[in-house]
């Protein structure tokens, strides 16, 4: 049965894992942000067979369970010939989940770049911008802002996915809850705390991102910008 005593006892114990969960989330997200560029560049190489291969590799990583990919990194990678090295659970989680999420991040980057109108590219060429200036002054300033809310959403999804790293003994909140549950036979209380922590952190972030999304949409909506210019206001 439910017991508030065990709940109070479990709370500080589970909370010990929060730093680990947050750290792994941050590191994994950073890894995914960087690795996302690899997919982006690979797909921009104008070579049909390569493009096709990269697309399907991404599809493969994206549509197979991340938990098996983690197990692969943790248990199978060390016994691979030549390249096999034993990795710590945290490294496995960061690389395994990082690669999994980088396939989503790569798509976000691509959608950002594709959202820049064709006329912008042509105008940059017509105005004789160099390759670096074209990207730095025309394309990227328009491509990056709309991707920010999307990246934020994936950050929250990642945060909720990190608890599966408990299965390869990363000592985050879920791992702590399981050890407490096993020791005191108080799984429900401990797991409820995990749920509360996840909810308490992810829900406000989701609300924040929704607001950011609205703000970005009005700021970078072409019609809104044109209206501002017509009124004689310099677009911010």
């Amino acid at each position: 049965m439910w017991s508030w005593d065990r709940f109070n006892e479990a709370f500080p114990h589970v909370l010990q894992g929060l730093t680990m969960t947050v750290w792994v989330t941050l590191l994994t997200f950073l890894f995914a942000l960087i690795f996302g560029f690899v997919w982006l560049f690979l797909r921009r190489i104008p070579l049909r067979p390569l493009n096709w291969t990269v697309t399907w590799i991404m599809e493969f990583i994206r549509s197979t369970p991340p938990i098996i990919q983690l197990f692969f990194m943790y248990l199978a990678w060390p016994v691979l010939p030549y390249i096999g090295v034993t990795l710590s659970p945290i490294t496995c989680a960061v690389i395994g989940l990082g690669i999994h999420f980088s396939t989503y991040i790569g798509e976000i980057y691509r959608s950002g770049i594709e959202s820049v109108g064709k006329g912008q590219w042509e105008a940059a060429t017509a105005l004789n911008f160099s390759l670096i200036d074209k990207w730095r002054r025309i394309i990227l300033p328009q491509a990056i802002p709309p991707t920010i809310p999307m990246l934020g959403n994936y950050f929250i999804i990642l945060f909720k996915e990190v608890p599966i790293a408990a299965t390869i003994s990363v000592q985050g909140i879920l791992y702590m809850a399981n050890t407490f549950g096993a020791r005191n036979w108080a799984y429900i209380e401990a797991l409820t705390i995990v749920g509360i922590i996840l909810l308490a952190l992810s829900y406000p972030s989701a609300v924040l991102i929704r607001k950011l999304e609205v703000k970005m949409n009005t700021r970078f909506d072409k019609n809104a910008v044109i209206k501002k210019i017509e009124k004689g206001v310099r677009p911010s």
């Binding site: 549509s63 369970p65 938990i67 199978a76 909720k160 995990v194 749920g195 989701a206």
Partner: protein, 219 residues
């Protein structure tokens, strides 16, 4: 170790569990999605808030936590033994993705142009007819790609049920790995390929659905 003659037959033993859990939880979540999505749009304040609570709780926490929680909580809190972890797996996956899909249903219905529902009213349709003949057929088309995407997510989610003792593909793969440590990379690779093959029809459906979604919708 031969992947086709030795590993695949072992993994096939778990295929039934993975597929039945996927099918049952997919159907359950679609049901929850339509109930949840329509309740979110209801005029009843309590119903709207209660559904909102369900959606936020299940979207705000992760599937693995919900799975474990239900696994321990259902027998103790309700004092019933469902006698089957299969049911718990289906309930957890169904409720989790049902919450995500509720939002898809809700936003698709809202994104049908307001002129459509105004026109239906002008044609003297009842509110049921308006939903059934005008709004819903257009909204469903927009939902399809997201339903496809979330079904792929559900397939990925089914790999977690081995954690509550169900014997799915991943379970048999892991059993094989524990007796053939040196062959771990090959075994896991075959397991991943199994899941990918199962995902392929869903991937093609999603791509097809994206084409369908663009057709025949007034905006």
């Amino acid at each position: 170790m031969n992947p086709i003659t030795e590993i695949a037959p072992q993994l096939l033993r778990g295929l039934q569990t993975t597929l039945t859990v996927l099918l049952a939880s997919a159907l359950f979540s679609y049901l929850m999605a339509f109930i949840g999505g329509l309740c979110r749009l209801s005029k009843n304040f309590l119903l709207r808030k209660f559904t909102g609570l369900y959606i936020e709780i299940f979207r705000g926490t992760s599937l693995i936590v919900q799975l474990f929680w239900l696994y321990y909580a259902i027998p103790i809190l309700f004092d019933i033994d469902l006698a089957s972890n299969w049911v718990i797996g289906v309930i957890a996956i169904g409720l989790n993705y049902g919450a995500y899909l509720s939002e898809v249903v809700r936003s698709s219905i809202l994104s049908v142009a307001p002129g459509q529902s105004e026109a239906a009213t002008a044609l003297n349709m009842s509110s049921f007819q308006r939903m059934r003949f005008v709004i819903f057929p257009q909204a469903v088309r927009m939902m399809l790609p997201e339903f496809g995407n979330y079904t792929i997510q559900m397939l990925k989610g089914t790999a977690l049920i081995s954690l509550i003792g169900l014997r799915d593909i991943f379970y048999y793969g892991d059993i094989m790995r524990s007796t053939n440590l040196a062959h771990a990379p090959l075994i896991y690779a075959v397991v991943l390929i199994f899941y990918f093959i199962l995902a392929l029809p869903l991937i093609f459906f999603t791509r097809k659905a994206e084409e369908i979604a663009k057709k025949g919708v007034a905006s």
